[in-house]
């Protein structure tokens, strides 16, 4: 059973890693002026909710399967995702707003955030991998 949990987590984590990479690539495209702000933001905003769900599911899964350490590790990131989503002002077009992304260094902070998430997901990936192997061996 535990193995199944970690296999799922692993797959989910892979998806999140790819998503982070996609975010980074798209944002750097914007930084280099390869795409315009409008299309960049509409691309990224599409993936905000899948990312949020993907990560929340893993977090809850860890809670349910009583892996406290991993749960607590995931909790801040999951909270941040939800907070960010909720706090979008009513007039904005999503977490990424084309009219503001170039202002006040938002692009840079988005970039930084995507990088940190990528690192975090990589860390999780190896933890899940290890846990999965451990679980498989124990079985």
């Amino acid at each position: 059973m535990e193995a199944v949990v970690f296999v799922f987590s692993l797959l989910d984590c892979c998806a999140l890693i790819f998503l982070s990479v996609y975010f980074i690539i798209t944002l750097s495209d914007l930084e280099c002026d390869y795409i315009n702000a409008r299309s960049c933001c509409s691309k990224l905003n599409k993936w905000i909710i899948p990312e949020l769900i993907g990560h929340t599911v893993v977090t809850l899964l860890m809670l349910v399967s009583l892996h406290w350490f991993i749960f607590l590790l995931n909790l801040p990131v999951a909270t941040w995702n939800i907070y960010r989503f909720i706090m979008v002002p009513s007039g904005n077009m999503g977490v990424f707003d084309p009219t503001e992304i170039h202002n006040r260094g938002q692009l840079k902070s988005h970039m930084k955030e995507a990088m940190i998430k990528l690192g975090f997901h990589l860390l999780c990936f190896f933890m899940y991998l290890y846990s999965m192997i451990l679980a498989l061996i124990n079985d």
């Binding site: 002026d33 702000a37 409008r38 009513s90 007039g91 084309p98 009219t99 170039h102 202002n103």
Partner: protein, 1229 residues
């Protein structure tokens, strides 16, 4: 000619000087004739000036041109500061002339110079040949210049003749002359008084050089030498032609004297410097040119003596020239590149030396003695030179090795440079010195300087001297002034009585002249800090305020096939680039070296060839290019106007339709556009009505679409019609519209769907949509709810709903922006209409927003009149379509936040569907890398747009500012108005993204931080007093004004829409207008005098002093006018003089003035005339036509007026003095 000079090919060119001349002449086309008859050619161009004279002038001009280019390598930065001085230096040089000539002779490098010098002075006869070519352009200068020069001409005219006879040698030069000729012309254009002296000097100097180097080095050397030499050369020539020359010398000396007089020591320094310079060149040259040098040297020496016979000189020159070509030239050419740097350096050194001299020269030398003195000086200098030359060669060579030319020159430079700066900012010296020094140290910088030198040369003469002296004195007075500590709590009258002007960047005179007008381009710090750390320490905002599409009375428009831009950063060529040689220029933003295209060598203004630095692009910091098809993604769009009108019951009741239709009818022919102009109308209430105006219909056809959930266009082709073809139908419609809906009972407003329809209608072409809305949209997409709680209007805590309620309008605006459509919003509502949401449609589509609270055409006539006036302006003002604006800045700076109405498409590209002359922008900057290796930074905005005539145009503004390394200098250069406007923009962002109270705190903190940073770092006065530098003394006052502004005030009842509108205005008003909104001007108008009045269009406009905004200034006996930007108040005191009331207001006494008075009658009295002309003058030039209210002392309307007295205490806000105490408290914490 010049073109080849830089490159190896030069050798050949050099060799065949004649050839060059010929080439140059041909290139110049118009100007110089073929080489052989150079004299004639030039003369013709030059025009009226005597031929001989012309020759000289040309020669002069030529060198300068070369110099410019040569020096150009680096950025011009270093030069700037120095340039001014430099110029003065020139003058001094001229005075010194006697000395300098000698120096030139001595140095080996000088050889070339000598040859030329000799001939020139002497007579021209010898050199004339060379000069001839040059003469033509130069002549212009002379003419413009002065009598003295003319005298020269006469003397020389003889020589000119010689030259004609003379020969091939001379021919070579002419070409160079051609190049310069342009420059000279430009000079002529400039109205400087000083010309006479300088030109003369320059020409000589140049000539000398040219002769020496002949083919190879000319460009570079000429410049450097010319400046120096010119002065030198003169002396020698002068003596021979007894009377006239003397006069000239005197004049020169007179000029120089002020600078010179100073002291022995300085002069010594100068000499030394010069020697160095001279020596250096020789060193470089020696290896290559030895033969030539040897030849030339002897000759030159002989010649130098003023008396030397012309014949001799000619012979010499001929010989030297002849020899050089074959042997020396070849050798030189390969070397040429090498030598140039050294030369450049030398030039720098020379310049600096001159600088020193000038500065040193503060003590005046007696004019009378000039001739004698000069001679003496000459002798002395010669001695010096000799000694120096002897000694110098050894030292110089070492440093000068071609590869590393910079070191030698640099050494002398820094110290010298410092002095000039010192003058500017006595106290600041260290900082400025540092700034200057780095430049010099770099090898490149020197070239940059040379570029600047060009300018200096161009504006030669007394003007320069006097101006530079004036500048020095001014600076010494003004700069310290900006740093003078002001005790804010002690200073009662902090507000100046005259309007606050933008501080002038501390650049040299030439750069100042060339710099962009502060009306279009301002920076919050006119001294840019070197590092981000320094900026952080200063706690001041760094940013730009732009007004790029301002109505200009004078704008150079350039039509050219190739628009010269930097190949890597795409910067447009501008006055602050440096020309490395004739063929290359160095970008001042990214420092890349670019080629000068062939076409750019020809100057259409002067019709001459080879003077790229004289082109209008390089002479004006604001230019407009007509762009080619490379700058179009599609054919230029026609002007398309669509009016989207609210015709619900509310709108009909308000009665705006009548005013709009009337204005449109009146201005239909004045709408900007060409034969393709199209126009269309859409009206809406709960349904959307389209109007088919297709030509051929007998009357307008109304098409109603009631499906507002899925709007479609009934007849897509005939809704936007050609204005000219369907004019009758349009007029019919406009006449019918106001009455069509008089009986409507429809109260709903489907604005969203109407906008969607408008977008569909406009998307094929782009253009302008004008939306007139009178209430909250209540149907369909984009409907809004009322969010304002009237009880919260005067809340001191939280102000909510400053941000939009929905993203519908933002999305729509972005869609529109993508289709090059701008949406302008006219909100005429009597109740809350959620402007913060509606404004998005204009904010992101680069539209503009007009708001008329409680508009009613009959009940509120002043608003109706305002609408009428503003509509007139709106309909007829200039407009640009499908525009983009890019702002570039020097490497090391970066832009991170933009303010204004536009969409930021990529990091530095603002997409503006429309641009109008009333739009202002702001940009925040940060310093990413240290700017230590540059002394100037430049900012360039390029606005690419399609004019209403279907032309693609690019308007380019370039601003150049100095870099400083000390905190004191940063404070000295604060532009407090710009800083306040930028802060206001930032505060608007802050209040929308976080909260209003946060923004208010941030504003107060901005004052606290900057003043405490100042008092803790710069001033050493104890902390118990509130001290601000003079440049920042208005900062607390303006911030207090901001806190009491509608946008940011709390505690006073403010309607949400009013507040949001004030914020919108802060975002998109240009600085001049915004400042009036923030801090109104108060004038006393019951005693207007003609004293100090200005004349505008034959009208006398009195200029009463500005009073501070406090009730203490109001007296019951007076009448006061308050100019709040968009509103004028005339407050009439209770005991106001009856004659004023009668003469100006047209009522017998105070009691009979009506409560609501919005007009001043035009009475036939002097005081009425004065008042009205003053008010009209204030009204002109602003985009929002202000409404005038006459406020009686006792009327209820006076609260409005008293709200603007921001220095006084209100229940909810500090008085100015309390605010100061509050700040002081915060600082001490």
């Amino acid at each position: 000619m010049s073109a080849p000079a830089g490159s190896p090919p030069r050798a050949a060119g050099a060799r065949s000087q004649p050839k060059l001349g010929g080439a140059a002449a041909s290139g110049a086309a118009a100007g110089p004739g073929p080489a052989p008859p150079p004299q004639n050619g030039p003369a013709q161009n030059q025009m009226p000036v005597p031929s001989a004279y012309e020759l000289y002038s040309q020669s002069y001009s030529i060198p300068s041109g070369h110099h410019f280019q040569g020096p150009g390598k680096m950025t011009s930065l270093p030069l700037d500061g120095q340039c001014g001085d430099y110029y003065s230096g020139f003058y001094t040089a001229s005075t010194q002339n006697a000395v300098t000539p000698k120096t030139t002779h001595q140095p080996p490098g000088a050889e070339q110079v000598y040859g030329r010098l000799l001939p020139a002075p002497h007579s021209a006869g010898s050199t004339p040949e060379c000069f001839q070519g040059a003469a033509s352009p130069a002549s212009h200068l002379y003419v413009s210049a002065s009598q003295p020069s003319s005298s020269f001409v006469n003397h020389y005219s003889g020589p000119a003749m010689y030259s004609a006879s003379s020969s091939a040698v001379s021919q070579g030069f002419p070409s160079t002359c051609g190049h310069y000729a342009v420059s000279t012309v430009s000079n002529a254009v400039y109205p400087s008084v000083s010309y006479p002296s300088l030109p003369a000097g320059e020409p000589y100097g140049q000539q000398m050089f040219t002769s020496q180097n002949a083919s190879t080095v000319r460009p570079v050397r000429d410049n450097s030498f010319s400046s120096q030499n010119t002065a030198l050369s003169r002396p020698s020539p002068l003596p021979p032609p007894p009377p006239q020359q003397y006069h000239q010398q005197h004049s020169l000396s007179g000029y120089s004297i002020p600078s010179w007089s100073a002291s022995g020591p300085p002069s010594a320094q100068d000499n030394l410097i010069r020697n160095h310079a001279g020596s250096l060149p020789p060193a470089n040259n020696n290896p290559t040119n030895t033969v030539a040098d040897s030849l030339s040297c002897p000759v030159t020496q002989n010649v130098q003596p003023p008396k030397s016979s012309p014949v001799v000189s000619t012979a010499v020159s001929a010989a030297s020239s002849a020899r050089l070509p074959p042997t020396a030239n070849h050798l030189v050419e390969p070397v040429a590149s090498v030598t140039q740097p050294s030369e450049l350096l030398q030039q720098k050194g020379m310049q600096y030396g001159e600088y020193v001299n000038n500065q040193a020269s503060s003590a005046p030398t007696p004019l009378s003695s000039t001739s004698d003195d000069e001679e003496e000086e000459e002798d002395d200098e010669e001695a010096d030179m000799l000694s120096s030359s002897a000694s110098s060669p050894a030292p110089d060579p070492a440093p000068e090795p071609d590869p590393s030319p910079a070191p030698v020159p640099t050494a002398p430079q820094p110290s010298k440079v410092a002095k000039p700066f010192g003058y500017g900012y006595p106290t600041l010296q260290p900082g400025y010195q540092n700034a200057a020094a780095p430049l010099h140290s770099g090898g490149q910088p020197s070239p940059g300087y040379s570029g600047f030198q060009q300018y200096a040369q161009q504006y030669p003469g007394m003007n320069q001297l006097s101006s530079s002296l004036g500048g020095l004195s001014l600076q010494s007075a003004a700069q310290p002034e900006s740093l003078r500590p002001v005790n804010l709590t002690q200073e009662r009258n902090i507000l100046p009585v005259t309007p606050v002007l933008a501080p002038v960047p501390n650049l040299n005179l030439e750069l100042k002249k060339l710099n962009c007008s502060p009306d279009s381009f301002r920076c919050t710090l006119t001294n840019i800090p070197q590092t981000q750390a320094l900026l952080t320490k200063a706690k001041l905002p760094l940013g730009l305020l732009l007004h790029p599409f301002r109505d200009l009375t004078q704008l150079p428009v350039i039509t050219s096939n190739t628009i010269v831009r930097c190949r890597s950063c795409r910067t447009y060529i501008n006055p602050f680039v440096s020309f490395i040689d004739q063929r290359r220029w160095k970008c001042n933003l990214c420092y890349r070296v670019n080629d000068v295209p062939e076409e750019f060598m020809y100057n259409p203004l002067t019709r001459s060839y080879g003077e790229p630095h004289k082109r209008p692009e390089v002479q004006n910091s604001t230019v407009e290019f007509i762009a080619s098809s490379d700058y179009m993604l599609r054919p230029p769009q026609p002007a398309v106007y669509l009016f989207v009108l609210d015709v619900s019951h509310n709108a009909v009741e308000a009665g705006y339709l009548t005013i709009l239709c009337q204005s449109l009818l009146e201005n239909l022919d004045k709408l900007p556009g060409d034969s393709r102009t199209r126009i269309g109308f859409v009206t809406f209430d709960s349904t959307i009505h389209f109007y088919n105006l297709q030509d051929g219909l007998s009357q307008p056809q109304m098409l109603i679409v009631s499906d507002i959930d899925d709007v479609f266009l009934p007849t897509p082709d005939s809704l936007l019609v050609n204005l000219h073809e369907s004019k009758e139908l349009i007029k019919d419609l406009l006449n019918a519209l106001p009455n069509m809906f008089t009986n409507t009972r429809e109260t709903h407003s489907a604005l969203g769907p109407a906008l969607q329809a408008a977008f569909k209608l406009m998307s094929p072409t782009g253009g302008r949509v004008s939306v007139f809305q009178t209430q909250l949209p209540s149907l369909g997409a984009g409907l809004l709810q009322s969010r304002e709680d009237p009880n919260q209007r005067s809340s001191t805590k939280v102000v909510q709903h400053l941000g939009p309620a929905t993203d519908f309008y933002k999305k729509l605006a972005l869609d529109c922006s993508g289709q090059q459509t701008a949406v302008d919003l006219f909100l005429l509502s009597s109740q809350y209409s959620d402007l913060s949401s509606l404004a998005c449609m204009s904010k992101y589509s680069a539209g503009c927003i007009y708001y008329y609270p409680s508009f009613h055409s009959t009940h509120n006539p002043s608003q109706a009149e305002k609408l009428q006036n503003e509509l007139k302006r709106y309909l007829t003002r200039k407009i640009g379509f499908e525009a983009v604006m890019r702002i570039r800045c020097t490497k090391g700076l970066s832009m991170h936040t933009f303010h204004g109405n536009f969409f930021v498409r990529s990091t530095d590209l603002l997409s503006l569907a429309n641009i109008n002359p009333d739009a202002g922008f702001a940009v925040q900057l940060s310093i990413e890398e240290s700017l230590a290796d540059t002394s100037l930074v430049c900012f360039q905005t390029a606005l690419l747009y399609t004019s209403s005539k279907g032309e693609r145009r690019i308007r380019v503004h370039t601003l150049c500012l100095p870099v400083v390394s000390s905190l004191a200098d940063v404070y000295a250069g604060v532009d407090v108005q710009a800083a306040i406007c930028l802060l206001a923009n930032m505060a608007v962002d802050r209040s929308i993204s976080t909260s209003l109270s946060d923004a208010r705190d941030a504003l107060v903190n901005a004052v606290v931080d900057s003043l405490s940073a100042y008092s803790s770092t710069v001033s050493n006065i104890q902390h118990s007093v509130l001290i601000a530098p003079s440049s920042l003394k208005l900062f607390p006052l303006y911030v207090l004004a901001l806190l009491k502004q509608k946008a940011f005030r709390t505690g006073t009842s403010t309607r949400l829409d009013d507040r949001v509108y004030a914020m919108c205005q802060i975002k998109c008003q240009p600085l001049v207008h915004l400042m009036k909104m923030i801090h109104p001007n108060l004038y006393r108008i019951d005693r207007l005098m003609d004293e100090g009045a200005i004349h505008v269009n034959d009208r006398v406009v009195p200029q009463p002093p500005i009073q501070k905004l406090s009730a203490e200034k109001l007296t019951r006996e007076g009448a006061f006018l308050m100019d709040c930007g968009c509103v004028f108040y005339i407050w009439v005191g209770k005991s106001c003089d009856n004659t004023f009331i009668e003469d100006v207001l047209g009522y017998p006494n105070f009691a009979s003035i009506p409560q609501k008075m919005t007009h001043l009658p035009e009475l036939d009295t002097l005081s009425s005339e004065r008042t009205i002309s003053f008010i009209t003058w204030l009204r002109d030039s602003r985009p929002l036509s202000p409404v005038l209210y006459v406020v009686k002392d006792e009327s209820p309307a006076k609260t409005e007026f008293f709200q603007h007295l921001i220095e006084d205490r209100t229940e909810a806000a500090f008085s100015y003095y309390e605010f100061l105490l509050h700040i002081q408290q915060q600082i001490c914490k």
